[in-house]
Symmetry: C2
Subunit: 130 residues, 2 copies
Protein backbone atom coordinates (compact mmCIF):
# COMPACT_ATOMS: atom_id res chain seq x y z
CA UNK A 1 0.00 0.00 0.00
CA UNK A 2 1.23 3.44 -0.96
CA UNK A 3 0.14 6.36 1.25
CA UNK A 4 1.06 9.93 0.32
CA UNK A 5 -0.06 13.28 1.69
CA UNK A 6 -0.33 16.01 -0.93
CA UNK A 7 0.28 18.62 1.77
CA UNK A 8 3.81 17.24 2.15
CA UNK A 9 4.57 17.08 -1.59
CA UNK A 10 4.34 20.75 -2.54
CA UNK A 11 7.81 22.09 -3.25
CA UNK A 12 9.28 18.61 -3.68
CA UNK A 13 10.40 16.80 -6.82
CA UNK A 14 6.83 15.48 -7.12
CA UNK A 15 5.60 18.99 -7.90
CA UNK A 16 5.90 20.52 -11.37
CA UNK A 17 4.96 24.15 -11.83
CA UNK A 18 5.27 27.38 -13.68
CA UNK A 19 3.70 30.76 -12.87
CA UNK A 20 0.25 29.71 -14.03
CA UNK A 21 0.07 26.04 -13.24
CA UNK A 22 1.13 23.61 -10.51
CA UNK A 23 0.77 19.84 -10.65
CA UNK A 24 1.38 17.51 -7.72
CA UNK A 25 2.10 14.00 -8.92
CA UNK A 26 0.47 11.68 -6.38
CA UNK A 27 1.04 8.56 -8.53
CA UNK A 28 3.37 8.14 -11.50
CA UNK A 29 4.23 5.34 -13.90
CA UNK A 30 6.78 3.77 -11.56
CA UNK A 31 4.06 3.15 -8.98
CA UNK A 32 2.78 0.52 -11.43
CA UNK A 33 -0.92 1.23 -10.97
CA UNK A 34 -1.46 1.48 -14.74
CA UNK A 35 -2.51 5.14 -14.48
CA UNK A 36 -1.09 8.28 -12.95
CA UNK A 37 -2.97 10.62 -10.63
CA UNK A 38 -2.22 14.31 -10.18
CA UNK A 39 -3.73 17.23 -8.29
CA UNK A 40 -3.40 20.28 -10.51
CA UNK A 41 -3.84 23.94 -9.62
CA UNK A 42 -4.58 26.44 -12.40
CA UNK A 43 -4.17 30.09 -11.59
CA UNK A 44 -6.96 32.66 -11.90
CA UNK A 45 -6.93 34.44 -15.23
CA UNK A 46 -4.72 31.91 -17.02
CA UNK A 47 -5.45 30.08 -20.27
CA UNK A 48 -3.96 26.75 -21.34
CA UNK A 49 -4.16 24.79 -24.56
CA UNK A 50 -3.35 21.09 -24.33
CA UNK A 51 -3.46 18.24 -26.77
CA UNK A 52 -2.58 14.89 -25.20
CA UNK A 53 -2.10 12.93 -28.39
CA UNK A 54 -0.59 9.99 -26.54
CA UNK A 55 -2.71 9.90 -23.38
CA UNK A 56 -6.30 9.66 -22.19
CA UNK A 57 -6.97 12.14 -19.39
CA UNK A 58 -9.91 12.69 -17.07
CA UNK A 59 -10.21 15.86 -14.99
CA UNK A 60 -12.58 16.30 -12.03
CA UNK A 61 -13.08 19.78 -10.57
CA UNK A 62 -12.72 19.93 -6.78
CA UNK A 63 -12.76 23.72 -6.46
CA UNK A 64 -12.80 26.83 -8.61
CA UNK A 65 -14.44 28.06 -11.77
CA UNK A 66 -13.58 28.12 -15.46
CA UNK A 67 -14.39 26.76 -18.88
CA UNK A 68 -13.10 24.16 -21.31
CA UNK A 69 -13.36 24.70 -25.05
CA UNK A 70 -13.30 21.73 -27.40
CA UNK A 71 -11.18 23.14 -30.20
CA UNK A 72 -12.54 20.65 -32.74
CA UNK A 73 -16.14 21.79 -32.29
CA UNK A 74 -15.88 25.20 -30.61
CA UNK A 75 -18.17 23.95 -27.86
CA UNK A 76 -17.53 25.51 -24.43
CA UNK A 77 -18.37 23.71 -21.18
CA UNK A 78 -18.49 25.21 -17.72
CA UNK A 79 -16.01 23.87 -15.17
CA UNK A 80 -17.20 24.04 -11.55
CA UNK A 81 -17.02 21.70 -8.54
CA UNK A 82 -18.39 18.28 -9.50
CA UNK A 83 -17.84 18.66 -13.23
CA UNK A 84 -15.58 16.11 -14.93
CA UNK A 85 -14.29 16.15 -18.47
CA UNK A 86 -12.61 13.17 -20.11
CA UNK A 87 -10.51 13.47 -23.24
CA UNK A 88 -11.54 10.16 -24.74
CA UNK A 89 -10.66 11.29 -28.27
CA UNK A 90 -7.35 12.94 -27.30
CA UNK A 91 -9.33 16.15 -27.75
CA UNK A 92 -7.34 19.32 -28.25
CA UNK A 93 -8.77 21.84 -25.82
CA UNK A 94 -8.33 25.19 -24.08
CA UNK A 95 -8.94 25.62 -20.34
CA UNK A 96 -9.68 29.14 -19.12
CA UNK A 97 -9.64 29.83 -15.40
CA UNK A 98 -11.87 32.41 -13.73
CA UNK A 99 -11.21 31.34 -10.11
CA UNK A 100 -8.28 29.12 -9.14
CA UNK A 101 -9.08 25.61 -10.26
CA UNK A 102 -8.15 22.57 -8.18
CA UNK A 103 -8.43 19.49 -10.38
CA UNK A 104 -8.02 15.73 -9.83
CA UNK A 105 -6.47 14.30 -13.00
CA UNK A 106 -5.97 10.69 -14.15
CA UNK A 107 -3.74 9.77 -17.09
CA UNK A 108 -3.60 6.53 -19.05
CA UNK A 109 -0.94 5.54 -19.88
CA UNK A 110 0.58 6.89 -16.69
CA UNK A 111 2.80 9.94 -16.87
CA UNK A 112 6.41 9.13 -15.99
CA UNK A 113 7.11 12.53 -14.42
CA UNK A 114 9.72 13.53 -16.98
CA UNK A 115 7.33 14.88 -19.61
CA UNK A 116 7.14 18.57 -20.42
CA UNK A 117 4.39 20.17 -22.45
CA UNK A 118 5.62 20.48 -26.00
CA UNK A 119 4.82 23.32 -28.37
CA UNK A 120 1.86 21.40 -29.73
CA UNK A 121 0.37 21.02 -26.21
CA UNK A 122 1.10 17.29 -25.99
CA UNK A 123 3.21 15.11 -23.75
CA UNK A 124 5.58 12.75 -25.51
CA UNK A 125 4.74 9.06 -25.40
CA UNK A 126 6.77 7.16 -22.79
CA UNK A 127 8.98 5.53 -25.39
CA UNK A 128 9.81 8.94 -26.90
CA UNK A 129 10.83 10.19 -23.43
CA UNK A 130 12.97 7.10 -22.88
CA UNK B 1 -14.92 14.69 -25.15
CA UNK B 2 -17.11 13.45 -22.33
CA UNK B 3 -18.44 16.06 -19.88
CA UNK B 4 -20.46 15.00 -16.83
CA UNK B 5 -21.62 16.89 -13.76
CA UNK B 6 -21.65 14.84 -10.58
CA UNK B 7 -24.39 17.08 -9.17
CA UNK B 8 -26.71 15.72 -11.87
CA UNK B 9 -25.79 12.06 -11.37
CA UNK B 10 -26.93 11.50 -7.77
CA UNK B 11 -30.04 9.36 -7.76
CA UNK B 12 -29.47 8.11 -11.30
CA UNK B 13 -28.30 4.71 -12.55
CA UNK B 14 -24.73 6.03 -12.26
CA UNK B 15 -25.05 6.08 -8.46
CA UNK B 16 -24.64 2.95 -6.36
CA UNK B 17 -25.38 3.18 -2.67
CA UNK B 18 -26.39 1.55 0.54
CA UNK B 19 -26.99 3.14 3.94
CA UNK B 20 -23.31 3.64 4.65
CA UNK B 21 -21.80 4.25 1.27
CA UNK B 22 -22.59 6.06 -1.99
CA UNK B 23 -20.51 5.90 -5.16
CA UNK B 24 -21.08 8.10 -8.20
CA UNK B 25 -19.54 6.55 -11.29
CA UNK B 26 -18.18 9.41 -13.35
CA UNK B 27 -16.38 7.08 -15.78
CA UNK B 28 -16.90 3.35 -16.34
CA UNK B 29 -15.36 0.69 -18.53
CA UNK B 30 -17.58 1.51 -21.50
CA UNK B 31 -16.13 5.01 -21.64
CA UNK B 32 -12.95 3.28 -22.87
CA UNK B 33 -10.51 5.44 -20.92
CA UNK B 34 -8.71 2.35 -19.53
CA UNK B 35 -9.66 3.26 -15.95
CA UNK B 36 -12.84 4.12 -14.10
CA UNK B 37 -13.31 7.17 -11.90
CA UNK B 38 -15.77 7.42 -9.03
CA UNK B 39 -16.65 9.94 -6.33
CA UNK B 40 -17.43 7.96 -3.20
CA UNK B 41 -19.12 9.15 0.00
CA UNK B 42 -18.60 7.16 3.19
CA UNK B 43 -20.92 7.87 6.08
CA UNK B 44 -19.73 9.03 9.50
CA UNK B 45 -19.28 6.14 11.92
CA UNK B 46 -19.20 3.41 9.30
CA UNK B 47 -16.53 0.77 8.75
CA UNK B 48 -15.77 -1.05 5.49
CA UNK B 49 -13.45 -3.92 4.65
CA UNK B 50 -12.49 -4.27 0.99
CA UNK B 51 -10.15 -6.53 -0.88
CA UNK B 52 -9.92 -5.71 -4.57
CA UNK B 53 -8.18 -8.87 -5.70
CA UNK B 54 -8.75 -8.07 -9.36
CA UNK B 55 -8.23 -4.30 -9.42
CA UNK B 56 -5.73 -1.62 -8.53
CA UNK B 57 -7.42 1.30 -6.79
CA UNK B 58 -6.22 4.74 -5.74
CA UNK B 59 -8.23 6.89 -3.34
CA UNK B 60 -7.69 10.62 -2.77
CA UNK B 61 -9.45 12.33 0.13
CA UNK B 62 -11.28 15.54 -0.84
CA UNK B 63 -13.11 16.04 2.47
CA UNK B 64 -13.67 14.30 5.79
CA UNK B 65 -11.69 12.32 8.31
CA UNK B 66 -10.99 8.67 8.95
CA UNK B 67 -8.39 5.94 8.91
CA UNK B 68 -7.28 3.05 6.74
CA UNK B 69 -5.88 -0.12 8.25
CA UNK B 70 -3.65 -2.39 6.20
CA UNK B 71 -4.91 -5.79 7.33
CA UNK B 72 -1.68 -7.53 6.29
CA UNK B 73 0.49 -5.41 8.59
CA UNK B 74 -1.93 -3.86 11.08
CA UNK B 75 -0.59 -0.44 10.16
CA UNK B 76 -3.13 2.39 10.43
CA UNK B 77 -2.91 5.56 8.34
CA UNK B 78 -4.85 8.76 8.85
CA UNK B 79 -7.22 9.83 6.05
CA UNK B 80 -7.74 13.58 5.75
CA UNK B 81 -7.97 16.05 2.85
CA UNK B 82 -4.92 15.65 0.60
CA UNK B 83 -4.10 12.10 1.67
CA UNK B 84 -4.08 9.43 -1.05
CA UNK B 85 -3.76 5.70 -0.62
CA UNK B 86 -3.09 3.33 -3.49
CA UNK B 87 -3.69 -0.41 -3.25
CA UNK B 88 -0.76 -1.44 -5.41
CA UNK B 89 -0.62 -4.91 -3.86
CA UNK B 90 -4.39 -5.48 -3.94
CA UNK B 91 -4.10 -4.81 -0.21
CA UNK B 92 -6.97 -6.01 1.97
CA UNK B 93 -7.95 -3.06 4.14
CA UNK B 94 -10.49 -1.54 6.48
CA UNK B 95 -11.65 2.07 6.17
CA UNK B 96 -13.15 3.67 9.27
CA UNK B 97 -14.93 6.98 8.92
CA UNK B 98 -15.00 9.63 11.66
CA UNK B 99 -16.44 12.48 9.55
CA UNK B 100 -18.14 11.89 6.20
CA UNK B 101 -15.45 11.07 3.67
CA UNK B 102 -15.60 12.32 0.08
CA UNK B 103 -13.12 10.33 -1.98
CA UNK B 104 -11.93 10.46 -5.60
CA UNK B 105 -11.28 6.85 -6.67
CA UNK B 106 -9.58 5.43 -9.77
CA UNK B 107 -9.80 1.75 -10.72
CA UNK B 108 -7.65 -0.23 -13.15
CA UNK B 109 -8.99 -2.24 -14.84
CA UNK B 110 -12.06 -0.03 -15.04
CA UNK B 111 -15.17 -1.05 -13.15
CA UNK B 112 -18.03 -1.98 -15.49
CA UNK B 113 -20.75 -0.74 -13.13
CA UNK B 114 -22.31 -4.15 -12.61
CA UNK B 115 -20.01 -5.34 -9.84
CA UNK B 116 -21.23 -5.78 -6.29
CA UNK B 117 -18.98 -6.20 -3.28
CA UNK B 118 -18.70 -9.91 -2.58
CA UNK B 119 -18.45 -11.50 0.83
CA UNK B 120 -14.67 -11.43 0.62
CA UNK B 121 -14.68 -7.65 -0.03
CA UNK B 122 -13.65 -7.97 -3.67
CA UNK B 123 -15.22 -7.08 -6.98
CA UNK B 124 -15.34 -9.87 -9.54
CA UNK B 125 -13.03 -9.55 -12.52
CA UNK B 126 -14.79 -8.29 -15.65
CA UNK B 127 -14.78 -11.71 -17.28
CA UNK B 128 -16.40 -13.26 -14.19
CA UNK B 129 -19.14 -10.61 -14.36
CA UNK B 130 -19.64 -11.26 -18.04
Amino acid sequence: MIVRDENQLHGTERTVSNEQWTSVRMLLADDKMGFSFHITYIQTGSEHTFHYKNHFESVYCIRGKGTIEDLATGEVHEIKPGVMYALDKHDKHTVRCEEELVLACCFNPPVTGNEVHREDGSYAAADEVA
